[in-house]
């Protein structure tokens, strides 16, 4: 079983890296708050995929599942709070553009 699991290591690592790049690029390049959060979600999906694959390969699926459940809880809370902040900023500036929300910086 371990030999078969090890064969899965490289394809999963490869696609995890690719999805991570998509999320990172989306978060860094966009000027829209909601799209930046979507990029963050894509990053988290890549990490979840990685944890589950490593849990299966090392035969510690139960531990990986408990870590993923914790991560999902953190993910929901982060997104809920971030969405609240974005809506609050939108009410002030009527824009989701990062470039128009720089009052704190100036």
């Amino acid at each position: 079983m371990i030999v078969n699991s090890l064969q899965l290591f490289w394809p999963f690592s490869l696609f995890t890296i690719m999805i991570f790049i998509v999320g990172l690029y989306c978060t860094l390049v966009t000027y829209n708050f909601i799209r930046a959060l979507i990029g963050l979600e894509i990053l988290m999906k890549a990490v979840t995929l990685s944890i589950i694959a490593v849990g299966y390969i090392t035969n510690h699926a139960a531990l990986a599942q408990s870590l993923v459940i914790t991560m999902i809880v953190v993910e929901v809370v982060v997104i809920a709070v971030a969405v609240g902040v974005v809506l609050g900023m939108y009410r002030h500036t009527h824009s989701l553009d990062v470039r128009k929300n720089r009052e704190l910086k100036d």
Binding site: I2, L6, L8, W10, P11, F12, S13, L14, F15, I17, M18, I19, I21, V22, G23, Y25, C26, V29, I34, R35, L37, I38, E41, I42, K45, T48, L49, I52, A53, G55, Y56, I57, T58, N59, H60, A61, A62, L63, A64, Q65, S66, V68, I69, T70, I72, V73, V74, E75, V76, V77, V78, I79, A80, V81, V83, G84, L87, Y90, R91, H94
Partner: protein, 164 residues
């Protein structure tokens, strides 16, 4: 193995679509699709409890949060869309090339792992690990949830005050 590769390719394609599509609504729907594909992988990798959480929370709740936010904000006018379109294409057209080039390059390297794997543990149930072995983690989850709830309450309380 082929099924895994097909699902992983679909997952990457949907992630690219979510990042590159102009409509935020479509991006949110793509996120739900990503979570569904991830759920399939989790079931295949014998992690059913995490898969159920992923399907109900990440494919159900989070897209709803995003769609509610998008519906609470005004969409761009046609002129604004045309104005932003060129800028978006200029910024995002590199992304598929970067992903494909990195994928091909890493595939050519094709690292064969020589990991010193730990001995297979006695197969435990995820519930046993979560409730018996890691109770502090559950306490942390409760605290994070409470912190999130209070943060959201404070955020919307302040905005309610402004409206009055």
């Amino acid at each position: 193995m082929l099924a895994f590769i097909l699902i992983l390719i679909s997952l990457t394609a949907v992630a690219l679509w979510a990042a590159m599509t102009r409509s935020l609504l479509r991006s949110a729907i793509c996120l739900a699709m990503m979570s569904s594909l991830l759920t399939m992988i989790m079931f295949m990798l014998r992690s059913p409890l995490a898969a159920v959480f992923e399907l109900s929370v990440c494919a159900g709740l989070i897209p709803v949060l995003f769609i509610s936010t998008i519906s609470l904000t005004h969409p761009l006018t046609r002129e604004e869309v045309l104005q932003h379109m060129k800028d978006r294409i200029r910024r995002f057209w590199y992304l598929p090339f970067i992903v494909v080039v990195v994928g091909v390059a890493l595939n050519m390297i094709s690292v064969v792992p020589r990991l010193a794997l730990p001995l297979p543990e006695i197969e435990k149930d995820a519930r046993t690990v979560l409730w018996n072995d890691r109770p502090i983690e559950l306490l942390g989850q409760i605290m994070i949830l409470l912190a999130g709830v209070f943060s959201v309450v404070i955020l919307f309380k302040e905005s309610g005050k402004d409206d009055r």
